[in-house]
């Protein structure tokens, strides 16, 4: 144990001197965050909501007034056809049609409640998702207010609607997920391929250190790095970009470490197939690049083409990003993201088997 911990500490110290590793491990993800966070995309997500009021009664007016108080929504009223044309043109993100039978009252037994129709512009998935969530929560709140049920739940939805979901809020968990993926895949592939080629591993294996202690130290070092990376990224996000992290830090770190285990396993598995650093450069891109775009790092996965969705939904980074994002932006607990956690655990098992079969030290 002293051997493993001692070696881990020495590896971390050497890492701190490695400018290339520091650049890709810390500076690079921060650069992404700054680029997308500042040049961005304007700070907060503004949702252009087109309103079509076909009821034109007091209740529809007060409903529209309630929505008008929400910062994120920019509401313009108009006729149905004109509004839908603007939606198609991309001037609006959403169009909400209030039917003529609209009223705010409990439904009489046997009769149906009035149905609001929401039209989305699929090209602006981000705004559509945010706007849709806000509308749902306002409708829920109204229902609770009228039927006098479940006041506890209405408190939570208040928080969601009251929060100004900015793009960086959405982006930060994605960057964290991406960084963990890069750490797992690239730091393993490049380091081990280079050390194998230069004969570093051969030299170490000529000492009496057991292989499992050697491997344990390398894994432990990278798990510690993953935690440090997550903490630094979150600190910069909160301090420099005023990102609000709703969920608990321990939950975020637990999910991040689980994700790091998956990607380390994948990294070791890939490394087993490689002999040169040029191969490593190609192989790491093949593994990481598709996930950068399909797993919702920078943009919502709603934008992923339909034929790729079945793949995108099961990528390890998808599970990781979805879980991190749910915890960071909506305050989900670990139980709330159990689906994603199960996905990551399955990946951890599969990738461990792969790594065990493929990885070699010599």
């Amino acid at each position: 144990m002293r051997q493993i911990l001692g070696y881990t500490v020495m590896l971390l110290r050497a890492y701190a001197r490695d400018r290339t590793a520091l650049f890709f491990g810390f500076f690079f993800p921060l650069l992404f965050m700054v680029l997308f966070g500042v040049l961005n995309f304007g700070g907060s997500v503004r949702v252009n909501l087109g309103m079509v009021d076909e009821a034109k009664n007091d209740q529809s007016a007060s409903f529209i007034a309630t929505l008008g108080k929400i910062d994120t929504l920019k509401i313009t009223s108009g006729e149905r056809d004109a509004q839908l044309a603007k939606l198609t043109a991309g001037d609006l993100d959403l169009v909400l049609v209030i039917p003529s039978n609209f009223r705010i009252a409990p439904a009489a037994p046997g009769s149906s409640v009035p149905t609001l129709s929401l039209f989305r512009n699929s090209a602006r998935a981000e705004q559509g998702a945010v706007g849709g969530a806000i509308l749902n929560s306002v409708i829920d709140q109204l229902s609770f207010a009228v039927t006098q049920t479940a006041p506890v739940v209405s408190l939570k939805s208040e928080e969601v609607t009251g929060r100004n979901l900015k793009y960086v809020d959405f982006l930060t968990p994605g960057i964290v997920g991406m960084t963990i993926m890069q750490l797992g895949i690239s730091s393993v592939a490049f380091a081990f391929v280079a050390d194998r080629q230069r004969g570093v591993i051969r030299r170490i294996m000529a000492t009496s250190i057991p292989r499992r202690s050697y491997m344990a130290a390398h894994v432990l070092q990278r798990l510690i790095l993953a935690v440090v990376q997550v903490l630094i990224l979150l600190a910069v996000a909160v301090l420099a970009f005023k990102v609000t992290v709703v969920g608990g830090l321990p939950s975020l770190l637990a999910v991040a470490v689980l994700g790091a285990v998956v990607f380390l396993n994948l990294g070791f598995a890939v490394t087993g197939l490689l002999t040169t650093e040029n191969q490593a450069a190609v192989a790491t891109q093949i593994v990481t690049l598709p996930q950068m775009f399909l797993s919702g790092v920078f943009f919502s996965r709603d934008a992923v083409p339909a034929f790729l969705k079945p793949v995108a939904d099961y990528l390890p980074l998808t599970f990781l990003n979805d879980a991190l994002r749910a915890i960071a932006t909506t305050g989900a607990s670990l139980a709330d993201v159990s689906g994603q956690i199960i996905g990551l655990v399955v990946w951890a098992i599969l990738s461990f088997i792969l790594a065990y079969r493929l990885f070699r030290l010599d």
């Binding site: 020495m10 280079a194 230069r198 170490i204 000529a206 009496s208």
Partner: protein, 252 residues
């Protein structure tokens, strides 16, 4: 006294190629012993079997009282090695490399004292990859000494070094032997083997074809009627080189 390295009928094949084909020899304690031979003779394979890095197909090899084939990790604990084509991890300082390898043997050492013993105390805080070729070889010998080995294996320790650095390394090897460590080396430089070694074994095509002290081998050759048709010179180019450039060690 029992030999510290004892090899009997050692064999190792790679497919059809018999890399080591029935090798037997002994090395006595506190000897400087060299295994010589052309490339592909089986030197490195033999040495790596003795170091516990490669498994033999048959035969026995006892190193420092441990049967290599039964307990390779036990052998690794008792020997020091310097490998061909190996390197130390990057971004470590010279002193940290010594500490790191001590840790690999589960030991704590006075790393400064070890660096001093190979003349590298003033390079302690330098990154190991910034050292010169000769300094790196000396660091690698320092590292091979961290576990106070009974046998030190050096695989072509002076390849690529300038004449000054080579002679400096010979002095270091003699000093290590004087402290009681057996030294087992391979080399392509026959003048090195002649100057440094108590006994040499010459290997060819997986066999040992000669084994004795350098003077005895030369004498046996002369007895067989060998005569070299050259003028006896009182000096050679090596002597000229060292005379005009001096014995002082060059660094960087």
């Amino acid at each position: 006294m029992a030999p510290i390295v004892s090899v009997r009928d050692l064999r190792k094949s790679y497919g059809q190629i018999k890399a080591v084909d029935g090798v037997s020899f002994d090395v006595q304690e506190r000897e400087i012993f060299a295994l010589l031979g052309p490339n592909g003779a089986g030197k490195t394979t033999t040495v790596e079997i003795l170091e516990g890095l490669r498994s033999a197909d048959s035969g026995t090899a006892i190193v420092a009282g441990v049967d290599v084939r039964k307990d390779p990790s036990g052998v690794k604990e008792r020997i020091g090695v310097q490998l061909q084509q190996s390197a130390f991890p990057e971004n470590f300082l010279a002193r940290e490399i010594v500490d790191l390898f001590a840790l690999f043997y589960g030991r704590r050492v006075d790393s400064m004292a070890i660096l001093r013993s190979v003349g590298l105390e003033d390079k302690a805080k330098q990154k190991q990859d910034k050292l010169s070729g000769g300094q790196r070889q000396r660091l690698s010998i320092a590292v091979a000494l961290v576990n106070e080995p009974r046998v030190l294996f050096l695989d072509e320790p002076t390849t690529g070094l300038d004449p000054q650095a080579r002679r400096n390394l010979w002095e270091l090897v003699r000093a290590i032997r004087a402290r009681g460590t057996t030294v087992f080396l391979t080399t392509h430089y026959l003048d090195e083997a002649e100057a440094l070694c108590d006994r040499v074994a010459i290997m060819d095509a997986g066999h040992i074809v000669a084994l004795d002290s350098p003077p005895a081998l030369i004498e046996a050759l002369l007895k067989r009627g060998f005569r070299k048709p050259v003028l006896q010179q009182q000096a050679n180019l090596d002597d000229v080189f060292l005379d005009v450039t001096g014995h002082a060690l060059r660094e960087d």
